[in-house]
């Protein structure tokens, strides 16, 4: 190492590897993105395995998708990635050096188990005589003193808990050592100090939940049925201590009524934690909805419901209308136990100003997010500034940038946020770090090793069937054991079994093992949807030496257990039917071969606002050309009139500098007054036609980044456009900047929130308006301290650190009046002034306000261009007209169609710094494609049987991708010909073809017919 070090010193080369500290979802996403774009990754995790808090969650909001199932594929990819080294159970001690050339000192803690030898057979844990409480399950059940945190853990290596191990505490036992066949137990193993060279460091240390004991009045730790929200996640989880059956801790009985208390350890100045933890309202809503499925009453006590993310408000409304979750706007002073039956009494203030007392069987405390102490300690050690609450301080606009060059940050260690924002920020940090090291791309990565494929063409089908429990998602309804037994009786089924999570890393090893041991040549997994999980299993087959197209997935979750919850017996029968259909199809599966083709390493960026500019610059920083298309005459978009943020940044100035950088960057070609009129091709190889000031121009590119932006809604309500003193929040911001003299004359300013947001037809929160109103009110107060400001609101949603500005606004005497959607303020013109009456929902009385200016916090709408683009690009919009990502948690920056990415306001309302982070993240997702020279084309494409083709052209008409065309072939005959790289395998031409000449590989008629026959 020393010699290599000197060598590097002389040449001043950057090191093509990146260290990520923290193996939660943010760290995992960052690691995958970096490793997939051509860099070596070391993922350091202090705990024995990665996965973080997300691995402990049952489901995730706002889709109520199973958390383990979403994380599973990512963990599998992580564990098997040739360019990722996982250093679990390892602490970071120090960091030296400079950006591009750091040296990191690590301590690999001794597990007392040799990870090379441990095959995680579990015999040691089975026979270990010491039982201790299990921290992964928040001490709700027991584990042994030699353990893996959870069965799907990565890396799957046992660790001895030295604090409890009988040998380490009393000097005798050694049972595990005697029983371990692989001689993996190594009591004398010592901590090892390791030094790593790395080009950049990303901190993703996560958080720890607030210690609910600090709020002693809620009785956590004293009354058994008071639990924290994370404990409740484990209670809900099928893989948790109670197998997903909701039960009381005291007596194991099913509770009838459960209460949630919000803001425990958040929004509490009294405890020095004035920030909002940003996720608790939504996780409580999620937990309450799941609880209602068990027919248990759910009540949430809260201050404001903060449903500020995409899809959150609809989720919240659904929890009330469909799930009957009860919400009570009152904080709780204390929880009183009833020792006779361990119930809990709560009293709260009703809207009618009375105190009401209710009894609950369980109370869940929605605990806030606190900085992870070890992450905090590390940041201090390596000179990263912390904010006043102990989170990593970062640049207000470029939130992944810390105070130390070359060290980036993402996830909750930067500030409280949900999984989606953590994942986006992870990709953004990855973009920053890889841009720094762009020259060293590919220098330390190994080409993937693909085993030789077994030729199975002469073999009889030998099918292996794996039926997944999916925690309790499937097994809670369907008798999976019976389905597996049944599968064993079907023709050509050589092997059948059932497993907890088919998608977990250990299970992939099991599948590979079974392929080998039983000579399988077809694999059927009965689990969930191919949309999210097929690539994972196909890869497992590939690694086992089977052609990946010999895989079949039967969806017994979405199509069975989820929709037939009330009829378990029939659901089991249907499960068998689905498996039988798939077995008959699997018998007919044929190997398919993918072709690869060259990638055009250029990105097309649509939209020249903050998102598009950032994305284009990000792509170019990594050495790839970008084409930036802007509809108007000017770059910069909405950010040009964002003059300041609540925390002192200046997006307007930032965007001007960004425009200059973009215009000076030779790799970026800017087209103004330009629109994309058509696009053909597919991921890696697109051809688009642009209309440049009416002139057509054709460009080629490998990926598309959509950043078509959004706009402020022009209200039709509250006399906007009819009275000169009614303006929007953005107009007010411009007024504060450009008309200071007029601002100083203002005496009474009123603001109305949620104008055009949170309405039945626009059921979403515009996310930024509460903070904008507060920011502008504070600005007004600083210019004109005597102005009286009244803000009429429905919920104040100043999430995260923004809460401190809300408190500041309150302290500055800005008045807040809460109204209900059904009782909106009424505005009347009174000459040059306005008179507003509002029914204050808290006081339950009407309030009369006079104003010489009324400011409307108008919603954010997607730009008009979005609708037009959706047709040109064939991309989906959500119910509100924003572009829809592939998956809100798993893939928030990608479209479902390969090669398309999204960012900025076109995806949903967000702040400038969130747009920047998202744009960088989306750019990195695109760079993962661009950084490769070749791309593998889909094997599942259309084929034309030349004998049956009449060259009628129906297929050509039907194809949206211009992938099939009637051409002259050998002998002068005309026939439909498929361009393999363009074909997406959608099947449109098959349906159009009158003779059956066109057939889709992998969905051939006999394969489908076999399924249909078996279904009847």
């Amino acid at each position: 190492m020393a010699i290599q070090g000197e060598h590097l010193n002389q040449r001043k080369e950057k090191i093509g590897s990146i260290v990520i500290v923290g193996g939660g979802i943010a760290g995992v996403q960052t690691a995958l993105d970096i490793a997939n774009s051509g860099f070596k990754v070391h993922l350091v995790e202090e705990k024995p395995s990665v996965g973080g808090v997300m691995a402990q969650l049952d489901k995730t909001f706002p889709t109520n998708d199973c958390s383990s199932c979403m994380m599973g594929p990512k963990l599998v990819e992580l564990a098997n990635h040739p360019n990722i080294e996982i250093l679990a159970y390892t602490d970071v001690l120090d960091l030296d050096g400079e950006p591009g050339r750091f040296q990191l000192t690590l301590k690999k803690k001794a597990r007392a188990v040799d990870p090379e030898k441990c095959v995680s057979c579990g015999i040691c844990a089975e026979k270990c005589p010491v039982e201790v409480s299990d921290p992964f399950n928040l001490d709700l059940n027991r584990r042994k003193a030699i353990y893996v945190s959870y069965p799907q853990a990565v890396p799957l290596v046992y660790t001895i808990d030295k604090e409890h191990c009988r040998y380490f505490t009393k000097g005798k036992c050694r049972i595990c050592e005697k029983l371990c066949e692989n001689k993996a137990i190594f009591f004398d193993q010592e901590d090892e100090i390791v030094r790593l060279k790395t080009g950049a460091v990303i901190l993703a240390g996560g958080f720890e939940p607030f210690d609910a004991r600090i709020r002693g009045e809620y009785g956590y730790g004293r009354w058994p049925n008071v639990v924290t929200s994370l404990e409740y996640e484990r209670i809900l989880s099928g893989a948790g201590p109670f197998q997903g059956h909701i039960q009381r801790i005291s007596d194991g009985k099913i509770p009838r009524r459960i209460a949630w208390i919000q803001c425990v350890g958040s929004r509490d100045n009294h405890l020095g934690r004035e920030y909002c933890s940003a996720v608790c309202c939504m996780y409580a809503t999620k937990q309450a909805m799941i609880t209602r499925e068990h027919d248990i009453e759910a009540t949430i006590f809260y201050i404001d419901i903060r449903a500020h993310g995409k899809g959150f408000d609809r989720f919240y409304e659904r929890s009330k209308s469909d799930s009957d979750v009860r919400y009570v706007r009152s904080m709780i002073s204390r929880v009183i136990p009833n020792p006779e039956d361990d119930t809990l009494r709560i009293s709260y203030a009703t809207p009618e100003h009375h105190i009401r007392e209710e009894t609950f069987d369980m109370v869940v405390l929605s605990v806030g997010l606190c900085p992870n102490p070890s992450a905090k300690q590390l940041a201090e050690k390596i000179g990263i500034q912390l904010n006043e609450y102990g989170f990593c301080a970062s640049d207000p606009l470029d939130v992944v940038v810390t105070s130390r060059p070359g060290v980036y940050v993402c996830g909750v260690v930067q500030g409280p946020k949900d999984i989606q924002d953590s994942v986006q920020q992870g990709s953004s940090a990855a973009a920053r770090a890889t841009a720094l090291l762009a020259d060293a791309r590919g220098s330390l990565v190994a080409p993937p090793a693909i085993p030789v494929e077994r030729n199975v063409s002469d073999e009889e089908p030998r099918i292996g069937v794996f039926v997944c429990h999916c925690g309790i998602n499937i097994a809670g309804v369907v008798d999976v054991e019976a389905v597996a037994d049944y599968a064993r009786s079907l023709p050509n089924v050589t092997y059948a079994t059932h497993c907890m999570f088919a998608c977990s890393n250990d299970q992939q090893q099991e599948i590979k093992h079974a392929i080998k041991e039983h000579g399988l040549n077809r694999v059927l997994v009965a689990a969930c949807t191919p949309r999210t999980h097929e690539p994972l299993f196909r890869n497992t087959l590939r690694e086992a030496g089977l052609n990946p197209y010999l895989f079949e997935l039967a969806n017994i979750r979405e199509q069975d257990s989820w929709v037939h919850q009330a009829e378990p017996e029939t659901a089991t029968e249907k499960g068998k039917d689905l498996v039988r259909m798939s077995v008959f199809r699997a018998r007919l599966l044929k190997p398919l071969y993918e072709t690869s083709y060259e990638i055009i390493q250029t990105a097309l960026v649509i939209g020249g606002g903050l998102a598009g500019l950032t994305a284009a610059l990000s792509v170019s920083e990594q050495g790839f050309p970008a084409i930036l298309v802007e509809r108007t005459t000017e770059l910069g978009g909405n950010a040009r009139t964002l003059y300041y943020t609540e925390d002192g940044a200046n997006p307007a100035q930032y965007v001007q500098e960004l425009i200059k950088q973009v215009e000076d960057q030779s790799l970026i070609t800017v087209y103004k007054e330009t629109e994309v009129v058509s696009i053909t091709g597919n991921c890696g190889n697109f051809t688009s036609t642009l209309s440049v000031r009416g002139e057509s121009e054709v460009v080629s590119h490998g990926v598309v980044l959509v950043a078509s932006g959004g706009q402020e809604y022009k209200p039709s309500e509250y006399l906007y456009g009819q009275h000169p003193r009614v303006i929007t929040q953005k107009e007010f911001e411009a007024m504060l900047m450009s008309q200071p003299e007029e601002v100083k004359q203002l005496k009474r300013v009123a603001m109305i929130q949620c104008v055009g947001s949170r309405e039945p037809e626009y059921l979403y929160c515009s996310r930024v308006c509460c903070t904008a109103a507060i920011k502008n009110s504070l600005k007004l107060k600083s210019m004109n301290p005597n102005a009286q400001v009244s803000v009429m609101y429905r919920d104040i949603r100043t999430y995260g650190f923004k809460e401190s500005y809300y408190l500041k606004a309150r302290q500055q005497g800005i008045r807040f009046y809460r109204f209900e959607r059904e009782e909106k303020p009424k505005v009347a013109s009174q000459g040059a002034h306005l008179s507003i009456s509002v029914f204050d929902a808290q006081l339950q009385t009407p309030i009369q306000l006079e104003a010489d200016l009324l400011v409307l916090s108008a919603a954010i709408r997607p730009s008009k261009e979005s609708k037009q683009l959706t047709e040109v690009l064939r991309l989906p919009l959500d119910q509100d007209g924003f572009f829809m990502e592939a998956h809100p948690k798993l893939r928030p920056l990608d479209f479902a169609t390969a090669g398309f990415y999204l960012c900025g306001l076109s995806q949903g309302p967000k702040f400038a710094n969130e747009t920047i982070a998202q744009a960088r993240g989306a750019a990195l997702r695109a760079i993962i494609v661009l950084s490769k020279k070749e791309i593998v084309a889909e094997g599942m494409i259309n084929h034309v049987d030349s004998g049956r083709c009449r060259a009628c052209g129906e297929c050509e008409e039907a194809c949206c991708f211009e992938a099939i065309k009637v051409k002259e072939v050998e002998g002068g005959r005309k026939q439909a010909v498929v361009t393999e790289a363009l074909c997406t395998g959608c099947g449109g031409c098959n349906v159009a073809c009158p003779t059956g000449a066109a057939s889709l590989a992998h969905f051939q008629e006999e394969q489908i017919n076999a399924m249909i026959e078996e279904s009847i």
Binding site: G216, E217, C263, R267, D268, N269, H270, L271, E274, I303, D304, R329, S330, M331, I332, S333, R334, I336, S347, Y348, A349, H353, H354, I355, I796, Y806, L807, R810, Q811, Q812, G813, I814, R815, F816, R818, D840, Q842, L843, I847
Partner: protein, 378 residues
């Protein structure tokens, strides 16, 4: 001095105060959350004219919990002066005699405040320590009907101090600390009383002032400082002093036949001053004594039901009964407190019931358990 508008403005309307408030439980419609909001909208409105302003016990349950750190008791206190000016006065209990005694003390009257001490111990006119006796001599003559002798508290303190080698100043010129005047909107009375006291203590040359009464301690520590700046003496509560000095004082305590004991935290000592540990430390000196906590203790302790000798009502009685029952539920037979008013209120509530808790003052109880003490056993 007054709690500023800005402080109450920071209210986020979460309602935790109302849920915490013992009055809200008993008095339907009383809601600190509403009171703050109303006062913001109409500063001269219903707060100044309604009964709510006097109903607040200033027990600090709400401010202890408030996530926005609003000092609701102080907010109420600061408006009481104005309420009085607007002709809105509180109902004074005990026919106003205790308010009359306090206001008499603002004049240049002749008091007989030290007679009780001459019988039991040594004290001086000047010296290092000043024992601030407070209103105990006046309570002693007022609450005989409850079979209470509040001066026993003062006598016990003096005996304990003497045994520890301290012969404090006890002054015949001392005045009421002004706590009740301050909390019932009589700032002028408070100012006069307070400046008397500061002068009396200064002239004694004392460097440390010891308080057995939590209200005196709290008022000196917070409000004297606010009105008169830094004081030339240290303010120490007797429980703090004893917890610190007893271990080195070679005093021993005797076992007793008493069953378990429990302790009621007075609002002014607990939530308002943060003194929870010292009284509990004192119980550890008592051999073979089982100390049990009530369900609600320390910052959660229930208030004794009235303050500043006003607005005593069925609501107060309900709270007191709740507290007594909570004490009884612990199995303890002796309920100890460190505040003469708590002792008076809880004793009053118990009279006429068939409950038989011994409601004791902490100093008298300690002295009773002191080894070799015959001077004070009754």
């Amino acid at each position: 001095m007054q709690l500023t508008r800005k402080q109450t403005d920071s209210c986020i309307e979460c309602g935790e105060c109302t849920g915490s408030c013992p009055i809200s439980r008993e008095l339907s419609g009383f809601s600190p959350r509403q009171i703050i909001k109303r006062a913001m909208i109409e500063p001269d409105g219903s707060l100044l004219h309604g009964r709510e302003i006097w109903a607040c016990l200033s027990c600090a349950h709400c401010s202890e919990r408030c996530p926005a750190d609003i000092d609701f008791p102080e907010f109420i206190r600061s408006h009481r002066e104005e309420a009085r000016k607007a002709g809105n006065s509180p109902h004074e209990s005990h026919h106003g005699i205790l308010q009359a005694i306090a206001s008499l003390q603002t004049r240049n009257i002749k008091q007989q405040r030290t007679g009780w001490a001459e019988k039991v111990g040594a004290f001086h006119d000047t010296g290092e320590y000043f024992y601030f006796v407070g209103c105990l001599p006046y309570f002693d003559v007022t609450f005989r009907y409850l079979n209470l002798f509040p001066l026993e508290t003062a006598q016990s303190v003096l005996i304990l101090l003497n045994k520890m080698g301290v012969e404090p100043v006890i002054s015949n010129h001392e005045r009421c600390c002004g706590h009740d005047a301050l909390w019932s909107g009589n700032e002028a009375v408070f100012r006069k009383l307070a400046s008397w006291n500061v002068e009396v203590i200064k002239s004694s040359g004392a460097k440390t002032v010891l308080f057995s009464c939590p209200e005196g301690y709290f008022t000196f520590k917070n409000y004297y400082r606010k009105y008169f700046g830094d004081l030339p003496f240290e303010v120490v509560h007797m429980t703090e002093f004893l917890a610190r000095e007893l271990p080195g004082a070679e005093l021993t305590f005797e076992p007793s036949s008493d069953a378990a004991i429990t302790y009621h935290d007075p609002c002014r000592l607990g939530r308002c001053s943060g003194i929870y540990e010292p009284p509990r430390q004192l119980f550890q000196f008592l051999p073979e004594t089982q100390f049990v906590e009530m369900e609600r203790s320390r910052e959660n302790a229930l208030c004794c039901g009235t303050s500043a000798w006003m607005e005593c009502s069925s609501c107060s009685k309900a709270m007191q009964m709740e507290r007594l029952q909570e004490a009884a539920q612990t199995g303890a037979r002796t309920l100890i407190t460190a505040c003469p008013k708590c002792q008076i209120h809880l004793t009053c509530a118990q009279s006429g019931t068939d409950m038989d808790l011994k409601v004791r003052d902490i100093y008298t109880y300690l002295l009773k358990r002191l080894s070799g003490d015959e001077t004070h056993s009754k």
